[in-house]
């Protein structure tokens, strides 16, 4: 497959996943913040700072304490075109990539992206906040989940689809790691575990698996180590690994390139470390380390598969 086409599949997968995750994070926190709104203890501001962190704002700016935190942060994460990880940016980038590989996509896959793009382009922060952001966020999430289903059901599961999988699961793992980095389970174990599970769409699967109300340690173990939950770090990492091995045709458990070698070590870490070991140095340190690991992994994939071949002299 053309390297450029492979790269577009990868970024398509990443940005679709990103738009979906950001919309869920905003939905969860916007509703939660409404419970905190009247309180003057700074919890609302802390909440929005953590949202900004999830959304990729590395040097978190001072969130204004004037009660405008919700609309400012929401605007930045949803509608800011300067912010490359906002919903509008992710949808635009996804659509650009889909457009450039349009001849590789089925009409159904293309339309789900294009229709969402046209919808998002018509929305404004003001109108969305006036009617409450849930409808807008739900529409984004539905389209992106629809994309996942339609692409699985209508595209051949060949190289293009595998690059889509790599992008999708790498982004999902990366975003989960950022969410872990942003929460504060040390100080508010119950609230923050609950928020973590909701942001990862894990409340029901967790309850079914553990049959109890969330406790920090169990919730963290579920999000990091669950074998079967499709948003756990372990699950996502395994899926990236599997897709890369299908692409290179190297047997699983061995490696043929830097990305696969890196993934092998990462998988072993999830497979052979108990939750207490994972959390030895605290959730935040663990998560920060993983965020870097996934960034490195992305570079290995990009360097390995999408280099521009040199032009002969």
């Amino acid at each position: 497959m053309l390297s450029r086409v492979a790269e577009s599949f990868f970024w398509l997968g990443r940005n679709v996943e990103r738009a979906e995750t950001i919309s869920r994070i905003l939905d969860v926190n916007y509703t939660r913040a409404m419970d905190l709104h009247s309180q003057r203890d700074g919890r609302s501001e802390r909440l929005w700072r953590s949202v900004m962190h999830c959304a990729g704002f590395v040097s978190v700016p001072k969130v204004p304490l004037n009660g405008k935190a919700a609309s400012d942060c929401f605007g930045y994460c949803a509608f800011d075109t300067e912010n490359p990880t906002s919903i509008v940016s992710a949808v635009r980038i996804a659509r650009m990539n889909a457009l450039s590989i349009r001849s590789e996509l089925t009409i159904e896959v293309w339309e789900v992206i294009n229709v969402l793009y046209l919808y998002v382009a018509e929305q404004s922060l003001r109108s969305v906040l006036r009617e409450g952001p849930s409808k807008f966020l739900r529409r984004v999430r539905d389209a992106m989940q629809g994309f996942a289903g339609i692409s699985d059901a209508t595209l051949s599961h060949g190289d293009g689809w595998n690059f889509l999988q790599v992008g999708r699961y790498l982004e999902r793992a990366y975003m989960t790691a950022r969410v872990l980095e942003a929460i504060d389970v040390e100080n508010e174990p119950w609230h923050e575990s609950q928020r973590l599970l909701e942001m990862c769409c894990a409340a029901v699967p967790f309850a079914q698996a553990s049959h109890r109300s969330p406790e920090a340690r169990d919730a963290l173990a579920f999000i990091v180590l669950s074998q079967n939950f499709p948003r756990s770090l372990r699950f996502c990492t395994r899926e990236v690994d599997a897709a890369l091995h299908r692409l290179s045709r190297t047997p699983e458990g061995t490696f043929g390139n830097d990305a696969e070698r890196h993934l092998g070590k990462l998988r072993a870490r999830f497979d052979y470390t108990p939750i207490d070991g994972v959390l030895e140095d605290g959730v935040r340190a663990f998560a920060t380390d993983l965020v870097r690991e996934y960034e490195d992994l992305s570079s290995y994939v990009e360097d390995g598969y999408f280099p521009r071949l040199p032009v002969p002299v």
Binding site: M1, S3, L99, S100, W110, V311
Partner: protein, 479 residues
Amino acid sequence: MLALQPHIAVAQHYDELYGADGLPRPQYAPLAATLGRLERDEILARVQAINTALLQRGVTFTVYADAAGTERVFPFDIIPRILTAPEWARIERGIQQRVRAINAFLYDVYHAERILREKRVPRELVYSSRNYNREMIDVDVPRDVYIHVSGIDLIRAEDGEFLVLEDNCRTPSGISYVLENRDVLKRGFPDLFRNYAVCPVDDYPSRLLDVLRYVAPHQSTEPNVVVLTPGIYNSAYFEHSLLARRMGVELVEGRDLIVVDNAVFLKTTSGLERVDVIYRRIDDDFLDPLYFIADSALGVTGLMNAYRAGNVAIANAIGTGVGDDKAIYRFVPEMIRFYLDEEPLLRNVPTFDCTDPIERRHVLANLDKLVVKNTNASGGYGMLMGPYAASEERERFKDLIGSNPRDFIAQPVIELSSSPTIVEANMVARRVDLRPFALYGRSVDVPPAALTRVALTEGSLVVNSSQGGGSKDTWVLQC
């Protein structure tokens, strides 16, 4: 129902639907009856649904004049244009003849120059053509085919006869609208097709692929064909992606290709992969920075060398623009006589040559009655519609013609035929042209897939999409 506004019963021009007696022509009678039965609101609601579908599918073009690079739906009118089987048969034969002659002309001007030596076409006109390409002299292109794909623009004159308005032998576009228009009309207005046997259009991509495979060098059993696009910002990108998808071949950009030892390769995730045939939708000037525009990022360095070495086929061939130069257009009937020893089946529009002093004087004296066209432009850019232009505009063209006579030709204003069209919820008469496409492989194939463009502005005779034109589904009847 939609009432047709007081029609041009006494019109000077030909109407596609209504005969001179004011009644629908026989081939349109069932269509007119079906339309008459539909409620106005229902028609408008279905039109709206079609427009939404076109937008969602991304059947759009980019308007260059618009700084925002806005993507727009090419306006689609639901009232089809019908061509009877005998009408189409005449068009088909005329186009086959014309395309064979132009192809022979291209071979000739890049080889023995017989037609120039016998002074049937002026040598200086060919050599001064901006698209005559000296790099192509004595180059043998695969199967001697130069114009694999052409679009010949026809108009219908007052007496109902089809005339050739211009030839497009470089990278004519529009076929994607033909395919999409048919698809959305069948879904949106299935009832219109009742009582008609319309030739299908959807095998165009496979007919094109046949041509592209036929011209592959080396006769490999599985030639690797690609479509070369300038990329997603090109106004015809939708068409490029549609053709690649429907032919099942890669859609590539210049940066996806590399030339090694005079052979062309794709850069893939598993190494380099040989390319045999390039259906390019990039102009000559941008194809190879070594030969043409040096800082073009759209092309492929070394492509021309690979082409001249016979290692890759390029469709259309390089240098075909001399064949559709508007100053050379008026010699096409002469080419038909010279190369084929036949009389032209399709007539030309009378054309004045501004390099000829007598004709130029006539043109300058009659600018208010003539259409002036730039010989190298297309898409309706750089033209003057004399009778409708402001006097400053005519003065500007007077200066332009005086200083660069080779760049201009002039033609009398031809009254294009009209066809009923829905504009702002009313049915009104608007002018149309017709662009059939010809595919040249083993022989010249003219699929029954033609584009009807319609000038949506009242009284306008300019149908180009860049100038506010729209399109109609075009039905070629099977019998």
